[in-house]
Symmetry: C2
Subunit: 438 residues, 2 copies
Amino acid sequence: MGQNTADPVLRIGLLGLGTVGSGVAEILQHNAQMIAERCGSRLQVVRALVRSGRRRRGAAARVATCTDPRQILEAEDIDVVVELMGGQTPARRYMQRALRAKKPVVTANKAVLALHGSELFALAQRCCVDIYFEGSVAGGIPIIRTLREALGADRTVAVRGLLNGTTQYMLGQLEAGETYADALAAAQRLGFAERDPRLDVSGRDAADKLCILGRLAFNSPLSPKLLSFSGIEALTPQHLAQAHCHGYRVRLLAQAHRRTVAGAAALDAWVHPALLGPQHPLYAVPAAHNAVAVRSLAHGDTQYQGAGAGSLPTGAAVVADLMDVARNLRAGVWGRLPFGNGRRALPPLPAHSCASAFFVSLQVQQRPGVLAHVANVFAEAGISLATVTQNVCATSLVPLTLTTHPTTFGAMQRALLQLRRAPVRRGTAQALPIAADS
Amino acid sequence: MGQNTADPVLRIGLLGLGTVGSGVAEILQHNAQMIAERCGSRLQVVRALVRSGRRRRGAAARVATCTDPRQILEAEDIDVVVELMGGQTPARRYMQRALRAKKPVVTANKAVLALHGSELFALAQRCCVDIYFEGSVAGGIPIIRTLREALGADRTVAVRGLLNGTTQYMLGQLEAGETYADALAAAQRLGFAERDPRLDVSGRDAADKLCILGRLAFNSPLSPKLLSFSGIEALTPQHLAQAHCHGYRVRLLAQAHRRTVAGAAALDAWVHPALLGPQHPLYAVPAAHNAVAVRSLAHGDTQYQGAGAGSLPTGAAVVADLMDVARNLRAGVWGRLPFGNGRRALPPLPAHSCASAFFVSLQVQQRPGVLAHVANVFAEAGISLATVTQNVCATSLVPLTLTTHPTTFGAMQRALLQLRRAPVRRGTAQALPIAADS
């Protein structure tokens, strides 16, 4: 170890020099000697692919730029390609080209990995190079490394996460009485939001991340196209206040757990705004943080918390990956870590077979027989009610909240449809999963 | 990947087949195929060194045993030695012999690493083999891996941990009104306590662990012989109740943070029972868990929580290390990860220069001039008082609690000595650090 002029150099090409790319450049500049001492190679950014020649600040301003991807993807003076463009196109194609040119890839791109991870990893294996992706999920939390390595000897039972910083922040603001528009604007101002905030508020960003975690933890071929997910767009301050009255917080929860259905093991996975009680391990996670709670057979319950995104946290995750790539290239090894975790894939349940207890809120007309009608709808859907709360109300529309025992998403869907058809009913019936505490 | 008869085999020799050794055997047996798929080698326990032929249960009963260490340390059919004996002797000597025989070592022995880690790692480097030690600190939490790899690109500012399960559990029991003896007996019954519980309650176990973390996070040559540490033996339910009245919990806190003293960077590190307020990141950690909060420049605040010890959590950490050893041996590489983090060591401050705010409790005689005397003692020690609470009391001895602004451990020591000498004073003056929230 130790830095001297004979240290080998890892020559890095960046695809993108935005928020995360600038963080990578800054960390590599400030910690150059320490990083070289720790991984035995000097890490040097040779050039970055950018869209325009706009002026940059700090360490990013000192990075040579280019606008032709060949100067990175097929360049002889680049050892490793770091993909930080985000989105599907052209990121996926560029990663393929880099792999075919025998260059390992480090990426923070959850969208491409969630949809095309298997294909890319198969290509990497054929090309005898690595893909590293710690920055793709919960940037500042080493959850990828933890699932792939630290928990590598163990069988995961459940993964539960707050994986999206924007919605995590916005829900805190909505609880404090802010409007949706103000909360979103503040999240964008603070740099939490994705460039296209629809990915955040629709739940898609968290769904992409859960697909990656599900693959690592359960070897389950989750796809955001089939996963049951929703976002926070339909939530109102009233929903949050009602949940609060019952002692719950609403959080965009991404969860996956092993279940036995009809004698066969399967993965129950979904991303939805859900109600978390004070005993839930993620109840107290601060608004600015992401967190993941893992349950596995030998380790039991472990929990990981930190910044979910941002220039420096995600940048540091990317550089930690680059240090691994440097170690691998120096030793002439690749394929050290698998993408999935073995050959027996755990099949994901179809969305309608996923199960949870639910918190249902409705507004009903104040007249005889309404509650009987509502109760009947749930009975016919085979859903057992746990609690019913109807408050005295001066208006003709009475807020009614119900909690159910665990049922399937499909049964709840049928009940909601029936409620919408019912003549006694005004407003929008909404059902949110109640997260199990353990 | 994938298991087939051509899979290479990693032949394991265990030193010790107690709590953790049985966990290792059980995990290797139950997860054999999954582990082989994930790391590309079959992991096989060839034999275990034991002291006696006493009967064992479960997977451990199927492990071949021996009583001559040569059958492990110098045996040709052993690829890797797993040291799970604990204690200094003969564990350290056996590890040296294994390394000299060119066998990598996996250990959960914090005591040997804290005192002799540098020497052992230097020997490993000379012998071109690895030492892995995830199980040595907070068994179920991958904090070693996280500091060595995930946070490898980052500069650590502070590490704060609840690292000892026995005291963590006992303090919860004491808070609930149990006696010290009952709390200790329960901790032993539940399997939290070390074989010699004095290591737990004296703070030495946590001190050993902090020395390892300080080495990894700060490249600081901490030694348990020089570290300022104390345990929970002198704590009474009254101390806990007084802290509780002020809104604090008492926990055995191990903390190390980078400080600039007289223009030079140094490490302020200690292990003491300390007062944690509700805003402290470790305040809400459950009694059965260990937790570590890390602050680093790029990642910001991250937190890791889980089981601190136990057969399966620590066993799973050991097996994850064995999987890394298998990958390294197959690739013919070693020395992938450094023990310290570079050449510039951060010197630890001498114990008397460490600093904190303090919570001081005394009993004073109810007569004029006593408070003036006490206040004078602190003033002469250069300690600034933050709050003073003296309650009306029917007896002649009045409980007095004071909180101070940050001062050094040395100054507080001087003040306590003066208070003990004061004629106005009965009972034992005690000062506990108040942990900073951020």
